[in-house]
Symmetry: C2
C-alpha cells in the first residue's frame, strides 16, 4: 500500500495529457490529492494548490506521486533533484514509469538513508499464490472490453463512485498502474508471472461481506491476441457475478493490430459468458459501457439507443451520463 495523501508531481509536463495519472487521482480520489508540484515550463495544471515540499509536508502529504509521463525513458537531472529533496523531507515516492525508481542508485541510497520507501507500481510487490478457484463470499463485477483502452478503468471507477454515493459497500480493485496510483493499492497484472495471474486476482479480491461489491478493473480483451491471456485470468480469478461489456464504437481495428477487426458486442458476450461461467455459473452480462468521446452528443444518444435495443441491456457512456443505470442493474441482481 502507498501511504496517502499525496503531493502530485507534474514535473515539466508538456501538456495536460502527459499528466493524466495525476488527473485521474484528482478526479477519483480528490481526498488523496493535497496539492501539486510543478517545475518551470509545466503546461499542466490540475487546479490544485501549488505547494513546495515543505508546504505539502505541513499539509499532511506522505507520498510524492509522479503523476506525469517522462520523456525519453530517463529520469532527468531536474526531476532527480526534486525526488531526492522529497526523500530527504521524508516523503515516499510512487511511480508507474517504465524505468524503475529502484534502478536509480541515488534514489535508493537516499531512501535508505532517510527510511522512506520507493513504490514502483509496475512491479508486483507480492509473491502471489496459484489460484485455487474456491468460491469467495461477496459480489464482484468486471468490465470486459471489445478491445484494449476502451474505458474499462473509467467504467469501474464510475461504478464504484456511484455505489459509494448510494451508501452501498464497494471497493475498486486496481489491476494496472494508473488504477494502483489512484487508489494506493492493487496488482499490476500484466507484470505478474503467467502461472500466478489468476491467483493474483483472487488475492486482491478476497472474501467479503455478502452485500459488498468488488469492482475489479478490467485489462486487455479476449479478442486482443497480445493480451487475451491476462483478460482470461481476470475472468477466472475474479469469478465475477456480473460483467459489463465495454466498447469504443469508432475504432477501425484492434489497438496495435491493423489486421484484426473489432468483435461485435454480441460476439464478445457469447465468448465471454461461457468462459465466466466456468468459475461462476451464475455470472450474467448486465450492462454495456460505451466510450462515446469521439461522437457528438446526438450521435452518442442514437448509438446508445441502438445498442440498448439490440442487446436488451442498459447501454450508457458513464463519462457523459454517469454510471447510475449500470449500478441500477447491479443492484437489481
Amino acid at each position: 500500500m502507498i501511504p496517502t495523501p499525496y503531493l502530485l508531481f507534474l514535473g515539466d509536463a508538456p501538456d495536460k495529457l502527459a499528466a493524466k495519472v495525476a488527473q485521474g487521482i484528482k478526479d477519483w480520489r480528490p481526498e488523496n490529492a493535497v496539492g501539486q508540484l510543478r517545475l518551470e515550463g509545466c503546461q499542466a495544471d490540475l487546479g490544485l494548490t501549488d505547494m513546495t515540499l515543505e508546504e505539502a509536508k505541513a499539509a499532511g502529504a506522505k507520498t510524492l506521486v509522479i503523476g506525469v509521463a517522462n520523456r525519453g525513458g530517463v529520469i532527468s537531472p531536474v526531476w532527480k533533484e526534486v525526488l531526492i529533496a522529497a526523500i530527504e523531507a521524508g516523503f515516499d515516492i510512487a511511480s508507474g514509469l517504465h524505468n524503475l525508481l529502484r534502478n536509480e542508485a541515488d534514489l535508493v541510497a537516499a531512501s535508505m538513508a532517510h527510511g522512506t520507501n520507493l513504490h514502483d507500481v509496475r512491479v508486483p510487490g507480492i509473491d502471489y499464490p496459484i489460484a485455487n478457484g474456491v468460491k469467495r463470499t461477496g459480489k464482484r463485477v468486471l468490465a470486459v472490453g471489445t478491445d484494449c483502452s476502451v474505458g474499462k478503468m473509467y467504467t469501474g471507477l464510475a461504478i464504484d463512485a456511484e455505489m459509494q454515493k448510494r451508501g452501498m459497500k464497494s471497493t475498486f480493485r486496481a489491476t494496472g498502474q494508473t488504477g494502483i496510483l489512484i487508489t494506493g493499492q492493487g496488482c499490476p497484472l500484466d507484470a505478474v508471472i503467467a502461472d500466478f495471474m489468476a491467483g493474483a486476482v483472487e488475492y486482491i479480491s478476497p472474501d467479503n461481506d455478502p452485500d459488498h461489491w468488488d469492482v475489479i478493473e478490467g485489462q486487455g480483451s479476449l479478442f486482443h491476441v497480445s493480451y487475451s491471456g491476462v483478460t482470461m485470468a481476470l475472468i477466472h480469478g475474479g469469478q465475477p457475478d456480473a460483467i459489463i461489456l465495454a466498447h469504443e464504437p469508432t475504432r477501425t481495428h484492434m489497438r496495435g493490430l491493423p489486421d484484426y477487426d473489432l468483435p461485435s458486442l454480441e460476439a464478445l458476450r457469447d465468448m465471454c459468458l461461457p468462459i465466466a461461467r466456468v468459475a461462476n455459473p451464475a455470472c450474467q452480462v448486465v450492462g454495456i459501457s460505451v466510450n462515446t468521446a469521439a461522437l457528438t452528443e446526438d450521435e452518442a444518444k442514437e448509438y446508445l439507443a441502438k445498442v440498448e435495443a439490440e442487446m436488451g441491456l442498459p447501454a450508457v457512456d458513464p463519462y457523459r451520463d454517469g454510471a447510475e443505470r449500470l449500478v441500477d442493474a447491479l443492484e437489481a441482481m
Copy 2:
C-alpha cells in the same frame, strides 16, 4: 539451446517414476541420450549404458541433464559432488528443478571457472516481445485439453514423430520444462511475464516453409481457472491451423480443483474454436487424443469408438494406437 547429446543423471531416484524426465528424453530423442549416470541406491534404470563422466565425455556427451526429481526441494551434497565434477570435466548442466542451479554459489563458481553453462529451463532465458498477431507462414497444430496433465505433450511428441517418419517437415515446439529438456530448446511459458506470453509463443514458432508443421506443446486448459490464461496465450500466440482435443476420461474433477467438473469434449470444442478463430479464421478441430491409461484394452476401444461417433472426428490414444490417424487428419487439411 542446450548442447546435445546428453548424459542423463538419474541420481538416487527412489523409483522409475521419479526419473520420468530422463525417460522422456530416452523415448523421444534417443539420439540425445548417450548414457546414464546413477548413484548408489538408484531404483530407476533406462536400459542405457551406465557411464562415468569420463566415459560419457569420450562418447561425445556435452550436457549432464538432471533427469530426476529431487527430494525436499534441495540439491543434496551427494548430487553436488557429481554436478561439480561434471562441470570440472567440461559439461554444461541442465535442470528443470524448482530450486535453480544459478542460486547455488558453488555451482556458479565452478561453471564460471570452467567456462561451462548452467541451464535452468524453468526460467525464460529471453526477453520475449509483445505479440504482434501478424499471420505467419507454415502450419501449426496445438493440443488443447479438457484439463491439465491429460497427455498434451505426449500427443504432440507422437504427432511430430509420426510426421518425421512420413518424411513430412515438422518441429516440436516445447512450452514446458520437460519438453525443453527433451528437445533441447523451447520456452517455459508458465514462467513468462503476463504481457509477453503470446509473444513468447510467436517467438518459438516463427515463419516457416508452407508445408512445415510446428507441433506446439499445449499447457493448462481453458477450463482450468488457475492456468487458463496460459492456454489462451498459446491459442492466440500459436495461431493454430489445427487443434487436437486432449482428454482423460476417468478424472472426477479438474486437477487440484475439487469443486470443478471436467467439461465435455463438445463444450471444449465450442469454447475453443471461436477463440482460435480470432487469430486464425481457418482453424479447425481435427482429432481427439484420449489418455486411456486407466482403462482396460476393451474399455479403451469402446470409449474411443463412442467419442469418435459423438464428435465425428478420429479419436485415438496415441500411446496405445500411435498418432497415425491424427497425422492422417492433419495431412488431409
